[in-house]
Structures are given as structure tokens and as C-alpha cells.
């Protein structure tokens, strides 16, 4: 069997700051197969966007991959220079749907001009062929073909978002990274966007890495999922397995924090506290201070991402109490000691 499309192994990304090295991603590992829709969930600042940017070589100047490997079709890409990324990877293989679609299209270029520039850089296609491809994609995302020559400001926000998606897809990349593609949109528009993305799933074998804080979106449209908390992947596996059999406390509390239409009366989970800011190497479970079931071991080393041993071989959780945490939650809720307060109070400085 050939290598998977994208393998991320023990990846650590750090930013140089005035206070030292800030760890944004710590020891993350997961794999995206060809044609797979992979969801990466977590709250703001958990490192999911950083992880995604590391894949396409888009880290800010002060960020770097300090350890671990990124393999694309079996080849290591974490150390590729800017020119190699441009020639071999960007857009031809991996394209990008940015978080801020409203400001990402160049306001001084027609969408077709921007597409022509990208197309001429990465392919030998004629300008006419590039226009045709863009028109096709406009069709797929529900924009009129005649509007490819419009400027971004002539589109509404939702239309800009769709134009961005068309641009991400028109060169038929193998992997599309979508960084919160629907953040700025209302729910109806969100739903449509996912319909367009789903449509590409059936028509091509494009893989998608979908980054979002809305885990319900992932369970709805992705095959696999990884859930991040403060730089660490806490749990990963098939969407089905993680949904039905979550093991990491953050994973199931995060999941329960979203309303479910099938259980309208259920109380939503609240996760107390804030994710910590991590300077230097992370050698604890970053969720320990927010976790009702934390034990001393959680703060002694970073838990490894171990298979949980169910039907799904990819299903793994990084929790020393992965075997019992969910049962404890089912039995006692988030208040195991009955003290009413499980989170260590913040220390005064």
C-alpha cells in the first residue's frame, strides 16, 4: 500500500517571543488518507491554525517546526525552502481556504486575474483553460460563471467565501486545508458551504483538513477527527469512534459543550478555566488543571497518544485515565468528589 497523503508525526511548533519559546503545537500526530475529510477541532488558541499553517509552510516569521516530521506522500516537507514549497506543494498539491476570507482576496485584482496568476505559476494551462476551470468551480460553489471577472468588493461576504473556495479547488489539489471556513457566515450560509465542500468529496478524491471549533460540524461532515487542547492532540480517530466512544475528558466535555438537536433538554457542559500558555517544552497534560479527574501523574509527563483498543485502529487518546474517565463522567458527572468544586483554585501571585 502506498504512503498516506499526509502523515504528521510528533510535530512540535514553537514561536520565538520576548518571553522565550512559546509552544503552540506539541507532539501532534495524525494521518490523512487520500479522499479523507479530516476534522481538527479545539478552542481558540489550541494550536490548530498553527498546525495547519505548518503544513503549507505558512508560519509567521517567528514560528518554526522545532521537532517531528510532516510527510506528504511519504516525503518529508517540514524543512522545504520557500521556493520548493512554491514549486512543488502550494496550490498544485495543497491549497488553502483562509480564516478571514473577507480580506484574503486581493481587492485590486479581479478574481479571474488572481486565478490566472496562480494558474500560470503552477500549471502550463492557457489563460482560457484557467478561466474555464474557474468557471466550473464557480458553478460548483453556486456563483454565476459570469462573475469571475468581478472585483472582491462587488461580492457579498458569503460570495467572497465561495469565491475563495472556488480558488482553492480550481487547480484540483490533493489536499485542501480549510481554516474555519465558515467563521464569518450565518448558519444558512455555513450549511451551503459544507454542501459545496461535500459535493467536491463525491466528484473528486480531494482530501480536506477542516479546522473548526464547532465539533458538531466535524461529526456531520468528516471521516476522522483530532481534538486539540493547548498544543496537544488529546484524542483522535474516526469521527464515528470519537463521537460514540470518547475517552479523553477534554474530548467528551468539548463534545457535550455543544447542543444536540436530539437532546434538546440536556444541559450543556461547561469547561472551567482557560487553556494555559505554554512556554518551553510541554511535559504535562495541558488539560490537567481543568480536568475533574486529574491525578498527579497527569502533571509528571505529557501523556502519549495511545490506541484505546476499540474497533477503530486509529482511535487513540492521550490520557492516563483513558480507560475509566468516561465511565466516571457517566456515573458522577464532572463533580466526582461531591465537593462542588473540582478545579484547583487559581493561585494568587
Amino acid at each position: 500500500m502506498s504512503a498516506p497523503l499526509l502523515e504528521i508525526e510528533d510535530l512540535t511548533v514553537q514561536y520565538r517571543t520576548n518571553q522565550g519559546m512559546l509552544t503552540a503545537v506539541s507532539g501532534a500526530s495524525f494521518t490523512i488518507e487520500r479522499g479523507e475529510f479530516f476534522g481538527l477541532a479545539g478552542e481558540s488558541g489550541s494550536g490548530k491554525s498553527t498546525l495547519a499553517k505548518a503544513i503549507i509552510g505558512g508560519l509567521d516569521d517567528n514560528g518554526e517546526v522545532t521537532s517531528g516530521t510532516l510527510r506528504y506522500r511519504g516525503e518529508e516537507i517540514q524543512d522545504l525552502a520557500e521556493t520548493e514549497l512554491n514549486e512543488r506543494l502550494r496550490w498544485k498539491e495543497i491549497s488553502w481556504i483562509p480564516q478571514s476570507s473577507m480580506n484574503s482576496l486581493d481587492p485590486l485584482q479581479r478574481v479571474s486575474e488572481q486565478a490566472a496568476e496562480i494558474g500560470r505559476t503552477h500549471t502550463d494551462l492557457s489563460d482560457e483553460a484557467i478561466r474555464e476551470k474557474l468557471k466550473e468551480m464557480f458553478d460548483v460553489v453556486g456563483l454565476q460563471q459570469s462573475r469571475i471577472d468581478d472585483y472582491p468588493h462587488q461580492f457579498s461576504g458569503g460570495m467572497q467565501q465561495r469565491a475563495i473556495i472556488a480558488l482553492a479547488l480550481f487547480l484540483e489539489p490533493s489536499l485542501v486545508i480549510a481554516d474555519e471556513p465558515t467563521t464569518a457566515l450565518d448558519v444558512i450560509m455555513q450549511d451551503q458551504i459544507f454542501k459545496y465542500l461535500d459535493r467536491t468529496k463525491t466528484s473528486t478524491d480531494t482530501s480536506l483538513l477542516l479546522i473548526t471549533h464547532d465539533i458538531s460540524v466535524i461529526f456531520e461532515s468528516c471521516d476522522s477527527v483530532a481534538i486539540m487542547h493547548a498544543s496537544q492532540v488529546t484524542e483522535r480517530g474516526s469521527a464515528q469512534a470519537v463521537h460514540d466512544n470518547p475517552r479523553h475528558p477534554y474530548a467528551f466535555m468539548f463534545k457535550e459543550a455543544f447542543p444536540d438537536i436530539r437532546e434538546p433538554k440536556r444541559e450543556l457542559e461547561v469547561i472551567d478555566g482557560y487553556p494555559p500558555e505554554l512556554m518551553g517544552d510541554v511535559d504535562i497534560c495541558s488539560f490537567a488543571d481543568r480536568c475533574p479527574w486529574a491525578v498527579d501523574e497527569c502533571r509528571q509527563s505529557a501523556p502519549s497518544l495511545d490506541p484505546v483498543g476499540d474497533d477503530d485502529a486509529t482511535h487513540a487518546a492521550a490520557c492516563v485515565r483513558a480507560d475509566e474517565a468516561y465511565e466516571l463522567y457517566e456515573a458522577e458527572g464532572t463533580d466526582p468528589d461531591g465537593t462542588g468544586r473540582t478545579i484547583a483554585p487559581e493561585e494568587d501571585d
Binding site: 503549507i56 505558512g58 520557500e82 514549497l85 512554491n86 514549486e87 506543494l89 502550494r90 496550490w91 498544485k92 491549497s95 488553502w96 483562509p98 478571514s100 480580506n103 484574503s104 482576496l105 486581493d106 481587492p107 485590486l108 485584482q109 488572481q114 496568476e117 496562480i118 505559476t121 503552477h122 472585483y151 468588493h153 480558488l167
Partner: protein
């Protein structure tokens, strides 16, 4: 009509109206200054009856609105009138002086802005690079000196010590006569005299486009569409071109304003270099209440500001589709 054409048409009409308003304002402004051109004659001891005759002759006794309509009527016929002080046609009087200033300032400022934009782009695109940290210092230093000081230093160093250029004037006194008016401007002698004043204008104003462009480039580099361009994998050269296009908008905005200010502001440079430009002419004309000359010179300067703004708007309309007036 396309939105671009419509935009041009609307802006053209606005420009004509603006020019007319400027004419009117100038007329009222200078007539409301105390005294007229006979005041100096009176001070020199001319008798009152003679002065009254002169006022009569020049129409200064007429009500203001009569004078105004007369003035506009003549202007529309292309008649700028005579200077009552020098008794020569206004156009004849100022045209060469205006041209002298213009041929110094316009190329110098244009070159300064092009050069400064490049300096600013390089400095801004390599934040913390050598050029940003050190290269911008001399630019700011020379820009901080008063223009006359820079001019004097240039003269002392390059004209006096090294004896490379003449110390002052626009042409050598020995220049041949009987030429067409424009011929001297093509001579080596002129070019020789041109270098130092040109350099003085350049050093004086270089900091403006450099600093604006640098700040603007830094800002645009941090914008989402620049990051998007980078991730789409287009070449760094193309990316920089996009950045420069965005970043040049503020520089283009300030260029005509700067140019117009420089046309008036090079008085000091003209004075130090003895450049036969418009600055001295204007000062003299204002003091002498030489209405026709003053009005015309100010009108030309104002026209220039308005027209250059007009041109900027047109360039904007071409560069930035968002500026065009929508249908």
C-alpha cells in the same frame, strides 16, 4: 457608459467648477487687502490728482462686481491683462519664471518620489534589515535640515571645494543670445547649473515618500491578502509587486500635495541658488499689490494643485476599482 468613463466625466466637471471657485476667491481676497498698487506710488510722492487718474484708467474706481465681470470676461478671452507696476503683459512677465521653477521642481520631485518609493519598499519589506535600520537614517537627516542649509552645504562642498558645479544662477552670463526661448534649457550649461538645485530638492523631500512607503509596505505586508498571495505560491517578485501596488496608494495621494507645496516651498532653494523662478516674483508682486500678476500666479499654482489631484484621482480609478463611482 462604463463606470470608469462616468467617473472621469464626473471628476472633470468637478474640476472645472473648482477652478472657477478658486478664481473668484482669489479675486475677492486680493481686493480686500488694504491699499492698491498706487499706494506705493503715493508713498514715493506722486500727486493725488495723478493717482486718481491712474485709478480711473485701471478701473479701480468701479464697483467690485464690475471689476470682477471685466476680469472674468478678459480671462475667458485669454487676456490676462498687464502688470500696472511693470507695464508689461502678465503672461510675458511670468511665463519664463514659472517655467524655470517648474522645470526644476517637477522633475526633481518626481524623481524623489520614485526613488523614495523604492527605498521605502526595500526598507519596509525587510523589516529589521540593514537598509531599514541604517539606510533610512541619512534620508531623515537630510530631510530634517532647512532647505537653505542643505543648499549652502552643497554649494560649499561641490561648487567651492571641489569646483564641480557653478555656485549659482541658471545659465552662464556668457551664453549665446538670439536663441529660441527653449534652446538654453537643452544646453550643457543649463544641465551644469541644474545639478545642485535638483540635488537640494531631492535631499530636502526624499524622506516623505521613503517614510510613507516604508510604513505603508509594512502595513500591507501584514494584511490577509498578502499572506494569501504567499500561500498560493506565486513568486516573491510578483508578491512584492502586489504589495507595492497597495502600498503606493498613500504615496500617490501625497505626491501632488507635496509637489504643489514644493512649487511654493523652493523659494529658499531658489534664493540660495539664485534660480530665476517664481518665488521672488510672487513676493514682489504681493508687496506691490500687482493684482494681475498675483492673481495669475496664485491661480496657476491652485490650478496645478487641482489638476494634479484630478490626475491622482484618475490614476486611483485605474489602480483601485473600489474608488470608482458606482452606477
Amino acid at each position: 457608459m462604463s463606470s470608469l468613463k462616468r467617473y472621469f466625466a464626473v471628476r472633470s466637471a468637478q474640476t472645472v467648477v473648482m477652478l472657477f471657485l478658486v478664481l473668484t476667491a482669489l479675486f475677492v481676497l486680493f481686493r480686500s487687502m488694504p491699499g492698491d498698487f498706487t499706494t506705493q506710488m503715493a508713498a514715493a510722492g506722486a500727486n493725488e490728482a495723478a493717482l486718481a487718474r491712474i485709478r480711473e484708467q485701471w478701473g479701480l474706481n468701479e464697483p467690485l462686481y464690475v471689476q470682477y465681470f471685466e476680469y472674468i470676461k478678459n480671462l475667458l478671452r485669454g487676456d490676462l491683462g498687464q502688470s500696472p507696476v511693470y507695464r508689461v503683459d502678465v503672461w510675458e512677465f511670468v511665463k519664463l519664471r514659472m517655467f524655470n521653477t517648474f522645470i526644476l521642481v517637477a522633475p526633481a520631485m518626481t524623481f524623489t518620489y520614485l526613488f523614495g518609493s523604492v527605498v521605502g519598499t526595500i526598507a519596509g519589506s525587510k523589516r529589521g534589515g540593514l537598509l531599514e535600520r541604517i539606510g533610512i537614517v541619512p534620508v531623515i537627516t537630510t530631510g530634517s535640515f532647512p532647505a537653505f542649509f542643505t543648499s549652502i552645504v552643497l554649494i560649499v562642498v561641490f561648487a567651492d571645494w571641489f569646483n564641480l558645479f557653478p555656485t549659482s544662477g541658471m545659465l552662464s552670463a556668457t551664453s549665446a543670445t538670439g536663441l529660441e526661448w527653449w534652446e538654453p534649457y537643452l544646453s550643457w550649461d543649463f544641465a551644469h547649473h541644474y545639478v545642485l538645485p535638483f540635488t537640494a530638492v531631492f535631499l530636502r523631500y526624499l524622506f516623505i515618500p521613503s517614510l510613507i512607503m516604508r510604513t505603508s509596505v509594512v502595513e500591507v505586508m501584514g494584511q490577509d491578502h498578502t499572506e494569501y498571495h504567499r500561500l498560493t505560491g506565486i513568486s516573491p517578485t510578483k508578491r512584492l509587486r502586489h504589495v507595492a501596488k497597495h502600498a503606493s496608494l498613500p504615496v500617490i495621494t501625497i505626491y501632488p500635495v507635496s509637489l504643489a507645496r514644493a512649487l511654493g516651498g523652493v523659494v529658499l532653494i531658489e534664493t540660495v541658488f539664485n534660480w530665476p523662478g517664481i518665488g521672488f516674483t510672487l513676493v514682489e508682486a504681493v508687496l506691490g499689490r500687482d493684482y494681475p500678476v498675483v492673481q495669475f500666479v496664485f491661480f496657476i499654482v491652485a490650478t496645478f494643485v487641482i489638476l494634479s489631484n484630478f490626475v491622482v484621482d484618475l490614476v486611483y480609478g485605474v489602480i483601485d476599482p473600489r474608488i470608482r463611482i458606482d452606477d
